[in-house]
């Protein structure tokens, strides 16, 4: 496969500057969301669910330190959830600009290899969008800290350290610290592979649906999950229900097969995306 680093740099620069409005809109959208989240979330963190006596109870947090910790964990959690949804949306825009013939001609006729074009797009829409979202989050947090004393009577610390601390979830050490058992590691690997698979499937959806990549992929996911749940219930109905669920208790083989399946599905999505992109025609 052809790959020239200098030309790849030109492709990146061209794509970035040609689509700079898209990245500015990404930034502004995420900034507004994060400022709103940071401000609104301060209103309701003196309540928390407590699990006692076999059921949940709403409890009022009166301790200032607990309130602050609750605010940080929950708000940064929501910010991170939005961050990952945004990354899915972003990668689903992979071929958004190729939905019309003139734009396809511009892209396909650019004198660079298909690999350079594919990789350039991916870099800008995944690590690039990741940077945009993190920058928007940091700026939104700074804005919240600036307006907080005026809008609210209290002050709360920056969300940025907690936002990144929650990323520890992705580090293998996190699981090793929890439990060094191989089952836990396999399930941890599975959770990462699941994220990669979702990412790859949104990439594929973006290439197949172009204009409504994120929406159509999400709809397909919902339909697929619905069918899967229906099938699972149907199978459970056909067998002894209690026995079925008991046998389904995950073991080592279950996680190993699941991980292998997720890996194969992820690789399949990436390969199909590459094939779709590299064989794209003008009509």
């Amino acid at each position: 496969m052809e790959f020239n680093l200098t030309r790849f740099g030109l492709v990146l620069k061209r794509d970035l500057l040609t689509n700079r409005r898209v990245y500015i809109n990404f930034f502004l959208g995420m900034f507004v969301f994060y400022v709103t989240l940071g401000c609104l979330s301060q209103m309701n963190f003196n309540n928390a669910l407590s699990y006692t006596g076999g059921s949940y109870h709403m409890m009022v947090i009166t301790d200032r330190a607990e309130y602050t910790a609750s605010f940080l964990v929950r708000t940064a959690g929501m910010a991170n959830a939005m961050f990952f949804l945004f990354l899915l949306f972003s990668v689903a825009q992979f071929a958004y600009d190729l939905r019309e013939k003139p734009s396809r001609i511009n892209a396909l006729m650019l004198p660079a290899s298909r690999l350079e074009k594919f990789l350039g797009r991916w870099l800008l829409l995944v690590p690039g969008a990741c940077l945009v979202a993190v920058a928007a989050f940091a700026c939104a947090d700074a804005a919240r800290l600036a307006v907080q004393p005026v809008l609210f009577e209290h002050t709360l610390p920056s969300l940025v350290p907690e936002f990144f601390r929650q990323w520890n979830f992705f580090l293998p050490e996190f699981y090793v610290q929890q439990d060094g058992h191989v089952l836990v590691l396999l399930s941890a690997l599975g959770s990462r592979l699941l994220l990669l698979f979702v990412h790859a499937s949104y990439l594929l959806g973006g290439l197949y649906f172009r204009k409504r990549g994120a929406l159509m992929t999400t709809v397909l996911y919902l339909v697929g999950n619905f069918v899967f749940v229906l099938l699972a219930w149907r199978i459970a109905d056909l067998t002894d229900s209690a026995e079925f669920w008991q046998n389904l208790r995950p073991g080592l083989a279950y996680y190993a097969v699941l991980d292998a399946l997720l890996f194969a599905l992820t690789a399949g999505c990436v390969w199909l995306s590459w094939r779709k992109f590299s064989r794209m025609q003008v009509l």
Binding site: K101, I105, N106, M109, P111
Partner: protein, 272 residues
């Protein structure tokens, strides 16, 4: 060289456009690609630059398979499509972002072409009329000095003075090594430019000859009303008489009348 061999292509199984179609375009010169509506001129241009993949046969551009869209092949071909978009940015930025992809890009040619078209170098793409945008793109195309320039209806959207400017710009800035393929219905806009005429009708290549060969074989004449058109291969009414095509038996000189030649070949259904 653009080499098309046994090309097969269609939009769906029931709508074949090319079936066992072959054509070879030698390097250098201006080729006029003519044909009726829907006979596959644009499709053929797309095939030449790899924007469409043949369903059978091969299309080679400078020896490389066009459909592979290799960087080395793409830097030697520039397509000016009939419909196109340019990013909304100053022309200078557009040039600085794209010139690096074309190793022979010439700022001088770009400047001269823009000047010939009456355009400033400080223009902003996105704030121009369709004709001005087309002139800017054609200037960029010529400045790339790509070996193969493909233009689909280049004079559509150009005003009357701009059509003659187009001819002048192409004649002035085309290098001897460069090949320009122009697909158009506006035959009068390009007839003085052409070195070679290609007329297609779907799977059939009706004509592929140099202008010199055509005018050595045929004479294009205007006859006043009442004068006999006997011996003409083809005649059509014109203002004040007839336009005719006849065999050139005595080595006569006549200017190519592209519209008449096209009608003779297509309507007369003869392969020259």
């Amino acid at each position: 060289m653009i080499q098309i061999e046994n090309l097969r292509f269609g939009y769906g199984r029931r709508n074949p456009v090319f079936k066992d179609f072959s054509l070879a375009l030698e390097p250098g010169g201006v080729y006029g690609l003519l044909g009726r509506n829907g006979t596959g001129k644009t499709t053929l241009l797309y095939m030449m630059c790899g924007l469409l993949r043949p369903q059978g046969g091969t299309v080679r551009l400078g020896g490389l398979p066009a459909a592979a869209r290799r960087a080395a092949a793409l830097q030697d071909v520039f397509l000016v499509p009939e419909e196109f978009t340019l990013p909304k940015m100053p022309l200078r930025r557009f040039v600085s972002l794209n010139r690096g992809f074309y190793p022979r890009f010439s700022e001088d040619i770009l400047r001269q072409c823009l000047a010939d078209f009456g355009l400033s170098e400080d223009l902003r793409l996105g704030q121009l009329s369709m004709g001005q945008t087309k002139k800017a793109l054609m200037s960029f195309a010529l400045a790339t000095q790509a070996r193969y320039l493909l233009m689909d209806e280049p004079t559509n959207g150009l005003d009357i003075p701009a059509k003659s400017e187009f001819r002048k710009v192409v004649a002035r800035h085309m290098g001897e090594e460069q090949t320009l393929v122009v697909s158009t219905h506006q035959v009068r806009d390009i007839d003085s430019l052409l070195d070679h005429v290609v007329i297609i009708d779907g799977s059939r290549l009706l004509l592929s000859k140099s202008v010199a060969e055509v005018t050595a074989e045929l004479v294009f004449e205007e006859l006043p009303a009442g004068e006999s058109a006997d011996g003409a291969l083809y005649a059509q009414p014109s203002v004040g008489g007839h336009s005719i095509v006849r065999r050139n038996k005595g080595g006569e000189d006549s200017a190519l009348n592209l519209e008449l030649l096209f009608n003779y070949v297509v309507q007369g259904g003869r392969e020259v």
